[in-house]
Assembly symmetry: D2
């Protein structure tokens, strides 16, 4: 039995982690912390957990030693206290952005200030198993992943890995996202009458997750353009890239099918009939799958690659638990077997 | 030309008033006040008004004299300053709850504190033209209406007015509402991920609008039960009442049809085919119509009466402008001619 | 291992059954039939099941003998072929309305034609474990439940069972429902531009599920009033009833708490703070829980009882699998352990 | 008074035309045809028009001569009967795709069959006033516009017209659309449980509206990628293009501001604070505005240009009425003065 605690359990990624771990056959959740909800039952904040657990939120200052500590804190906080956390657990999975970038200069550039614990950056592995399964298996410190970065990374991964993409051309990834991405704290723009029914390109350039895709896929000319739409959970990345001369649809099929064969949570969705012919996030709510698809234009050079995920699962807590499974030698899919719903 | 100002113009009812008045052929909007957005263009808060007006938000302390002052302040503020406002305008329409109830004791009971200007209560007319058209025509002070109260009042008005309802039996009105009812200020429950897709019976008993329906329709045993659903604008009241023995469907048809004939904004919706057979709020967004419908059970005693409105129009700003039209001898429908959209 | 087949697997209840059974540790799904999708992979219709099963839709005429047959056919079909099905399986769970009513006269009244196999009606048990757990445990033939009937039944069950409700007064249940209730076949009113954002009281009286509540709770004066709202999965019943003189809130608390203690899928939601203070269907998507709540008015006589469910789970396929578990002596919760999501 | 008739009035564009024309001060609607709803009141299909008109649907074979005929038929029908229609009206505005392309070869390529009345193609002017105001003013035959083409055309028009875009680089336009684009006829994918909450990239390449943008903006390397999202009315185009070396943000500001100054329905939305900083379709429901915005990356070469419209207004019926106004020498904005709603 793995003893696990969650630091920062009242937010959406913390709640989703808790939901998964409570159903995980090999995990015992020891503590879930929250300053603002200290002493409350966790189900008062996460109403889906009513009758599932009697846990109450603990004081983050009173953490007990465990096997694995999941840090689900707002960005910037883990790097301040990482040394302390490291005395409490042999394994740490940090879901914030603090340990995703390997290069402190890149961190400084994208997050606007120097990293507080740059010496820790090389000790962390970027927590996307589809990219770093082997390293994660032997790692003690794993970062989380940006949800938008994950959709972009997985959309392009099979084609890039197979060497089919001509990265001298710019890559544009248009990402459409639901409202849970913004976290559990409201703001004027998340007020329902303002947020409902939006199609809002809130970031044309410069989204911080861009750095993670540049790092992981080694793409220099990359734009992530972010648009909010009316949905709670879900991300769809539609990536535009150029394939190298001579690359055929068959080559792409082979690359995407191989990725799906090698990775239990990747699926290729490319159908000629039915309603669900392309990847769609809505049927992924609660599941850890990433659905991939692609199309090529008549000239055979312009690739549109797609990836749909649940931002709180494959884009955050699901991938984190998948990493934990790998780190502790368990089946990668343990605790992550919910198939998603249809209709929804 | 009627000179009008809006006090409290950054909220939803204030914005809707402004939208209507800017298109009203006989009105000149002099000032729109907002403390929090002082000096900003009104279109920065109400983006639909971009390129429609160069007005900026004024200081509420610097109001100029006008013909009519619309007060769109949070509940409790108008009653504190009504004497001052009365020196600035011959006519006042107050959209808050402050002057809706005639009896100070009822105000105290439902709003939890004594009224600060009880002597003003008899000077105000309840601002629903379908109930008080004549009095409003000669009034100088008119209150606004509660949006839920309006849906309940209009659902039952034709039947009650025609003496068809047996008011010795309790009346239950189940009201379903969109999110704009809660106003422009967010709260944890209005955060999109929490508010999206809800069916939330947030008030089983004791909603303050109950008092307005009791007062206006003289119903003693009345329950308004409030449920939030996923929509921005719109209220549907489904009222359950007992009709007197011997009342026929024909009698009800006559009562509802008469109401629609006598009131330009009432329509009866009771079709046997097509998609829109019953009143529905979604097609009313932006319109001042109230759509009415009714059904009677096999035994002929249980009446279900329905009313759909746009809470910001017929349930607030639309009715207020309709009152202004009456107070100034204009055509009741002036400035209120938008038909609503289909589909939407 | 229980061998199970699903007859009529391309609809929403069939798909949901399949989703549950594929994850059920003690069930082997043998066949899933569909005439219209014969030979297609089930995941082409139910895209959430991609990579979960290689099953294809079978011919309903080529059913093999199994332990339990789930019939998920349109209403009216099971009663025509029940004798044939009974030769194929020792246990049958019919999710249609065909075997829910015990009295053939009631069936005739509510469904407009005589029952084709009235002799089978007494052999079936009404498939709501919270009402008939013992009988179901020893039954071979179990009916499904109407989703709206289930929400109404469970809202009132604790109070009625404890003798707290005065059934000489009429009971009105206002039910709000999502779009999946209408099934997988579209119609003009389910076209997204028409269905999105509706609040549509499509049935004031006479909904067929009324008969199930009258039968199961022995209520004579009952109205179910149905309103469609914008949501895919979910039902909320808000029931208005009179409690007997002298009944206290404490009595009601006791009744509802007991129900939750005795039934693993019932929960009482009645909080004084937080966002989720009352039962809400959205957090139940995919879960088999029924969340119950209640309020009483100042006079202590008017009870508002609430129940939220996922219409495809507790209101259909979830309850059916719960019955199967009971019929085969398994833990009632097996395969039904998904907690639901937050946020969603 | 202009006498106008609508051929094909039961669809969404026909209904929207009717709504506009009924409120147009200088238009008298003579007939609205529909085969499938022959003889029904138009308000039975377009419920927003109840109490606005007593018109019934006429037989398309019994059209009377009028000043202007609006053809709102499914694609392919106008070209078959254009000679006949031309005998009935001096002016024709065809909202279908039949007369949008000037080159019969392009029509053949994109619509898969030869044009049935190719000799008529040169007589039609492409009906987007922002592109062809002068020609429309003197034209007798004007085509409608593709809604997606209009969003793409207007997003890029100011920059392209000012010569700021380097069209030797490919242009990618990511377009997000609501469900009313699909028309009033349902299909399996428009069934609410399937369509609700989607983010569905249903067309990566080859959308027919591409041809209109290529023609009107003279862009050779153009991709329109289409994604459906959860909204009824609205299109947002997010266009990615390269600006020429040396072009500054100031140049772009000047181009976009000029476009807004010269065109009454264009607005620039580019704010640094508030909720509505970029173009958003939801606040445009029912309005004829096209909101434009743009961003440039750090290097100053990658332009993201945005345009939000209501697909049924600026993207179809609104532009058609704007053309009619120009053709008959009226104020371009007549009948098109609805500002849109906030919130919505």
């Amino acid at each position: 039995m793995i003893h696990a605690s969650i630091v920062g359990g009242s937010g959406y990624t913390g709640g989703e982690l808790l939901r998964i771990l409570l159903s995980h056959p090999d995990v015992d959740v020891v503590q879930v912390t929250s300053r603002s909800h200290l002493g409350e039952y966790v189900y008062q904040v996460h109403p889906n957990l009513r009758k599932r657990t009697k846990l109450t939120f603990s004081d983050p200052e009173a953490l007990q030693p465990v096997d694995v500590l999941f840090l689900a804190l707002p960005h910037g906080q883990s790097q301040e206290k990482i040394d302390g956390y490291a005395t409490l657990a042999t394994h740490i999975i940090d879901l914030s952005a603090d340990f995703r970038l390997r290069d402190p200069a890149q961190y400084h550039k994208w997050y606007g200030k120097p990293h507080a614990s740059a010496q820790w950056l090389p000790r962390f592995v970027y927590g996307l198993p589809e990219l770093h399964r082997m390293e994660i298996s032997t790692a003690r410190y794993v970062s989380g992943v940006g949800c938008n970065a994950t959709a972009a990374n997985l959309a392009l991964l099979p084609a890039v890995k197979a060497g089919l993409v001509d990265l001298s051309f710019p890559v544009v990834v248009e990402i459409k996202v639901g409202s849970s991405e913004g976290g559990a704290e409201g703001n004027p723009g998340s007020h329902h009458p303002e947020r409902s029914g939006v199609i809002r390109t809130f970031s044309a350039f410069g989204h911080r997750h861009t750095a993670e895709v540049m790092q992981e896929l080694c793409i220099d000319h990359l734009t992530l353009t972010m648009t909010s739409v009316d949905l709670v959970r879900g991300v769809l990345a539609t990536a535009h890239a150029n394939v190298k001369a001579g690359v055929t649809v068959k080559d792409l099929w082979k690359a995407y099918r191989s990725a799906a064969n090698e990775n239990p949570f990747l699926r290729v969705v490319k159908e000629h009939r039915g309603i669900y012919r392309v990847p769609e996030p809505k049927i992924l709510a609660g599941s850890n799958y990433a659905d991939l698809g692609f199309e090529v234009d008549e000239d055979g050079r312009h690739l549109v690659a797609m990836c749909a995920i649940d931002n709180l699962m494959k884009g955050a807590s699901g991938s984190a638990v998948q990493c934990m499974n790998l780190m502790f030698g368990l089946d990668e899919m343990m605790g992550l077997d919910f198939s998603g719903l249809h209709p929804i």
